[in-house]
């Protein structure tokens, strides 16, 4: 046995090369999701090779969640998320829920690490960057970094992950109204800083 779980990215000869790019992208994402779930299932059965593959598989996903929430400590946030994910993997009863489960851990860890990194500055209290600041036009991370971790988390969950407000509220452990108000302030703050 060489490969524990087949990598469908390279092993699916039936893929139609003429398929539209958007459709192809969605299909590839679905393939990767299927692979992630299969790896999680094998890992829960005690296959440590599958665990190693799952680790590789999850790093980009965890990066995409933690990066915008903890921009100054993204490496710590990703690493600590992975430790928590693997420590708790045996408690993941439904491997199909892998991504939602990992996402919840990543958001929680990223907020915690961002706070620890001292970037917990509410959007209302920040000074907008000076007009003409060259960073402003090119570095979205810098603008995101001026929001509080909670506001960044709401932006990531709603505008990057595409969750509805109730789901985001459940994940963050706050009322739906809080998500709405945070989202409003985060978008307003982001827009103000981005266009200042």
């Amino acid at each position: 046995m060489i490969t524990t779980v087949p990598d469908r990215r390279t092993e699916d000869p039936s893929r139609d090369p003429t398929r539209g790019r958007a459709e192809d992208r969605v299909a590839r994402a679905a393939d990767r999701r299927t692979r992630g779930v299969a790896l999680a299932r094998a890992a829960r059965r005690g296959d440590t090779l599958a665990m190693s593959d799952l680790l590789d598989h999850l790093i980009p996903y965890v990066s995409a969640i933690c990066g915008p929430i903890a921009p100054d400590a993204r490496q710590d946030a990703v690493q600590e998320t992975l430790v928590v994910v693997f420590r708790a993997l045996r408690n993941l009863d439904e491997p199909e829920a892998l991504y939602g489960w990992v996402r919840a851990i990543a958001v929680r860890e990223a907020i915690r690490i961002a706070r620890r990194a001292g970037r917990d500055t509410p959007v209302e209290a920040t000074e907008p960057p000076a007009p003409g600041d060259p960073q402003l036009a090119t570095d979205i991370d810098d603008v995101l970094g001026r929001l509080s971790p909670e506001h960044r988390a709401v932006l990531v969950l709603r505008d990057v992950e595409g969750l509805d407000e109730q789901t985001a509220a459940d994940l963050l452990g706050v009322p739906e109204g809080t998500v709405k108000s945070r989202l409003h302030r985060a978008r307003a703050g982001f827009r103000r800083m981005w266009t200042a």
Partner: protein, 178 residues
């Protein structure tokens, strides 16, 4: 609920100086964070009951250290206390299949992953994990593994840490000897 972010895997090989790779996924454009091999080993080991990790910094460049650690047939047995002979029977990309014989005569077939800075091998009764990362002119090394609880992600903890410390000390000596 919508589809999650595209969990593409575009990470570079482990063990090299920190670098990030292009987009995590086409859907996000967010670059994956580089998680070096030692950090990966710590994370993975967190999911293995009873596993210990022993780390050290060897005063030699990564290439010299990995030339010993990553050479399963000729280098590995020089520092792993229990290994007498290892034969790689199959390679497919970074996947390896190896047959090993211990100093006590026991045989095992391992399946695993071997790439620069990262080695993970698993048999029914043994788990071996090794990671190495360049740190300027030195190399940070992490070792884990031991006797596996059959069929489970678990290691019998008795004596495991002592064996790993012994392996690290022998690796140091082997690399120094050249």
């Amino acid at each position: 609920m919508t589809e999650p972010l595209d969990p593409d895997n575009t990470e570079s090989p482990d063990g090299q100086p920190a670098e990030t790779t292009p987009a995590a996924g086409e859907a996000t454009g967010i670059r994956p964070v580089h998680v070096d091999a030692v950090a990966r080993l710590r994370a993975l080991t967190a999911g293995i009951a009873g596993a210990r990790v022993v780390e050290g910094v060897l005063p030699a460049p990564f290439a010299e250290v990995w030339a010993v650690m990553g050479d399963l047939e000729h280098g590995f047995g020089r520092f792993q206390p229990d290994m007498r002979r290892v034969r790689v029977s199959r390679r497919d990309g970074d996947r390896v299949e190896a047959h090993a014989r211990s100093r006590y005569g026991m045989r095992a077939r391992f399946d695993g992953i071997l790439r620069p800075g990262w080695c993970w091998l698993q048999s029914r009764f043994v788990i071996i994990g090794m990671a190495a990362v360049a740190e300027h002119d030195t190399t940070r090394v992490a070792l884990t593994g031991g006797v596996r609880v059959p069929g489970r992600a678990a290691i019998v903890p008795i004596g495991a840490e002592r064996e790993l410390r012994l392996a690290l000390a022998r690796l140091h000596t082997t690399v120094k000897a050249g």
